[in-house]
Symmetry: C2
Subunit: 128 residues, 2 copies
Amino acid sequence: MNAGSEQELVEEWRGLLARHATVHNALETELQAQHNISVSEFEALELLASSDHGKCRGQDLTNVVHLSQSAASRLVARLERGGLVERVMCDLDRRGIFVVLTDEGHQRYSDAKPTHRSVLARTLRGEH
Amino acid sequence: MNAGSEQELVEEWRGLLARHATVHNALETELQAQHNISVSEFEALELLASSDHGKCRGQDLTNVVHLSQSAASRLVARLERGGLVERVMCDLDRRGIFVVLTDEGHQRYSDAKPTHRSVLARTLRGEH
DNA sequence: GAAGATTAAATGCACTTGCATTCGATGCGC
DNA sequence: GCGCATCGAATGCAAGTGCATTTAATCTTC
């Protein structure tokens, strides 16, 4: 399906762009206003919250947030500065780190989650 | 359709994010490497190329590029610096401006278009 | 027609981003 | 075990972004 004449491809891409912008902007605005976290930060917290012991490798985080490695590194730094996360050395491979959710981080995620879901429900309606 | 339990909504959003990132990154990389323009710049050129006389209001541009007003203003400034576009005063409403495509701008758009389409064809395949 | 509200665009500023590089730690070949 | 490629993460830096504000023009109300 979705074979795609050139025109169809372009229209699909424009739809994707518009949809992405709508949802992303709404999420950014509400998460920022109500919980003081960005979309990327929320994504990171969500990964951690769903991980065993609220802990994951730096790389796993990079893979999830759709950011460059350096941006992901700084994202972790911000979260750490905000007390939502801690970096701990990884003994098995001492190049790497574990990022672990703090209690406060878990709390903030739990608080933000309903907001996140409600924005999705509001903005992600209709045809795909 | 697409009623959406919470879980379904989240999955749809993640799919949208992933899809957007894939296509956007590929477009950015190839347009930059082969034609030295960004995705936003291409979008602006495309709007202009499809407009009457290759000319449109600053605002129309802002609406299309999914950027803030200030970012759109600077986008036009970059395009102008690069010689792809010119800003001309709008006599009917002298607050506003017209952005007009130069010959070189039209050429660059024509050159970049096949690249753009081919990236879409390559990356926008499969389920929506 | 003048005063105040509104609009289009530009700009100062702080922050985020990606690229390239760096630094240390692992792994591999020999 | 030694050197060299590779890998995970952090960082310097230039560039792009959004927010808030500014400037100038237009519209509204009286």
